[in-house]
């Protein structure tokens, strides 16, 4: 009798200790359909790859598609916070959706880690202790290219970007390090697919080069139309305009283009080489920078979970700020406004295996800290 009772107690104790580790719920709202979908798909795939490699059973990921609609994203966010009671939210690609979702989310005490969108409004005055950006601040990659083009002797670039927070950040960032004297500046419509009018204006201006920020499907449409239009000006942009998927769709028209990025798949560190190889093995394609961002975000969360639980907000926040994880970018640290301080590299598009690909050719800025850190009063 006593042994039975003892056995029962031990079994109960074991069962209870197994249940004591509470499940952490992560809600990912990202763009899985439409013209910008390969960004969200890569973020999701990088994120889930990291979760899979960690093999943890206490993390549950819920993924929903926002179709690049701010009202839909807001609705899904409300659902995830109120019904699913997520502890951490992540995933948003587009800065206009981020502006709709992030402020109410962090104000409700939920942590938000951005694997992509980094609007200036949330880096400076709108910063919040629960908001972290694991990718970059919007202006950074564009500023780097602005500085690079200036030092390359290009005096009159024609610059264009879509008309949404990241687009305005892009051209503001570009001009911050390029300075005055752009030949022309156009904001296109987000999701626009026909660039005939803009290309005509580029041709008619006295520009010596073109800098454009058109992520996802917009970039593909622009490059295809630009290539056929006979405007022979050299093209530059951030990595967003020239990621591996865009290069695959655009083809040889993109050869020789330079772009800036905080990551390249040929970055020479062990974590990155392992990441690229495992991503290729798992999904059959080369990861884009979005995948690397998703991967890093997941690993950051997992590293913080080793130290604290989201239910203990202050401890978890401190763990996130410490960023004790192995990033595919090499050394990783946050600035005081929870945005990364990191190198920005230059890549060139070269012929690859069946389609063009990016090759790391240099560093544009070392240890770039975003331009808004001083405005953040955290």
């Amino acid at each position: 009798m006593r042994t039975l009772l003892g056995g029962a107690l031990i079994a109960a104790g074991l069962a209870l200790s197994g249940a004591a580790q509470a499940e952490v719920k992560i809600g990912m709202i990202t763009t899985l359909s439409g013209g910008g979908s390969h960004l969200g798909i890569d973020v999701r795939d990088g994120f889930t790859l990291a979760l899979k490699q960690a093999g943890r059973t206490d993390v549950k990921l819920i993924v929903k598609d926002d179709a690049r609609k701010p009202d839909l994203a807001k609705q899904i966010a409300d659902e995830m916070i109120q019904r699913d009671k997520v502890d951490i939210m992540t995933g948003i690609i587009w800065s206009n959706l981020a502006m709709a979702v992030v402020p109410p989310t962090v104000r409700q005490g939920v942590f938000y880690l951005s694997p992509n969108a980094g609007p200036s409004a949330l880096a400076g005055k709108g910063c919040h202790q629960n908001y972290f950006n694991v990718a970059w601040q919007n202006n950074d990659l564009h500023a780097a290219m602005g500085g690079y083009m200036k030092s390359a002797g290009l005096a009159k670039p024609f610059i264009l970007a879509p008309n949404y927070p990241a687009g305005t950040d892009a051209l503001t960032g570009f001009k911050s390090l390029f300075g005055e004297g752009v030949a022309g500046e156009i904001y296109t419509k987000l999701g626009q697919k026909d660039y005939a009018a803009e290309i005509a204006q580029i041709r008619a201006s006295q520009a010596d080069s073109v800098f454009f920020f058109l992520p996802g499907g917009m970039g593909i449409a622009f490059m295809k139309q630009y290539a056929g239009a006979g405007v022979e000006l050299p093209v530059y942009g951030p990595a967003f305009s020239f990621d591996e998927v865009i290069l695959g769709a655009v083809g040889d028209a993109a050869l020789g283009v330079k772009n800036t990025s905080q990551w390249a798949y040929d970055l020479d560190n062990a974590a990155n080489l392992a990441f690229v190889e495992s991503f290729r093995a798992e999904y059959g394609r080369t990861p884009t920078l979005y995948a690397s961002q998703g991967f890093d975000t997941a690993n950051l969360i997992l590293s913080a979970l080793d130290t604290a639980q989201p239910s203990d907000a202050d401890a978890f926040r401190a763990a996130l700020e410490a960023a004790e994880f192995t990033s595919v970018r090499g050394a990783f640290r946050f600035g005081p406004n929870h945005h990364p301080i990191q190198n920005i590299y230059v890549r060139e598009v070269v012929p690859g295996d069946g389609k063009p690909t990016n090759k790391l050719v240099g560093i544009a800025i070392e240890n770039r800290q975003d331009a808004f850190a001083a405005e953040c009063k955290m």
Binding site: A100, Y164, L190
Partner: protein
Amino acid sequence: MAEPGNAIPDSPRSGGSPLPPLGGGLGRGSVESWLNAALAVLLLAAPLAAIGLGEPYYANLASRVAILALAGVGLNLALGYGGMISFGHAAFFGIGGYVAGILAQGAFNAAPVISWPVEVMGSDSMVPIWLAAMAVSGVAAVAIGAISLRTSGVYFIMITLAFAQMIYYFAISWPAYGGEDGLSITVRNGFPGLDTYDPLSFFLICYGVLMLALALSWRIMGTRFGAALMCARMNPERLATVGIEPTPVKLAAFVISAMITGLAGALFADLNGFVSPSMLSWHTSGQIMIFVILGGVGRLFGPVAGAALYVLMEHVLGGLTVHWQLPLGLILLGVVLFARGGLVGMVAGGARHD
């Protein structure tokens, strides 16, 4: 023969009472009345049960049903009873939403919303916002209706669509109110005596407004004006021979319908804490039409049934598959082709003969 103050004689089935039975039309029978009562009770009971079970999120879902039903009640007045196929009712839905959003943010920022010619401060109290939303929607409807009602048939459909598109592009272009990215409402508006952040309280407010609108709709259709409206739909020449011009009747109905839909828009903005131009898109106009059709065109509680069915499908089917709009489309097609009375028509019978 027509008696003074009561141009259309009562149908024998209604027993000669001055108000029509709750069937909403002329003598639709008691099955529909029971169905309406059942719908009203179900819509109230579901969130109460959800809260009792500790799932307050579903009260928000019920609020969503109530608000979308309210938008449909508005459209039903113009389209169902009045026969005006407005493909631009999203314009009023969106106007109501933006008025609510702009006033709320004005109050939050403690800055005047309009400075000239008269200074208008923002407000974070629901009732003034509702009145403002209804007023602006009404004024817009007078302008839109006056021009659109000069046309008929497919031209009317196109012109109402065109006006809605104009307002949509205007909202996108106005950077001060967020443009394409929409306008976030930081704080939910207040209602005297209630905590509007509480899902149940907010739902009760929406439910109360919906019931009021339904009562108003029912009352209107029971008056001489309502009868004239239905006659304007069925046979405008005949109405004119009785001495009533159809156009002013239709315009009045159009304006009232717009105000109800505008009120729904204001509540919708408060529910989501967000206003976006998508509230003004033709897709939204189509969706409001779907609520009305699914439930039953010209049926009092049709929009309630339709909105409930739509939201149910969105959540139940949407949870099963991301492609839930395919069965929605099939059901809608089926209703249009085969079940012309909608949900209410299928249950309560009595299809319209026009």
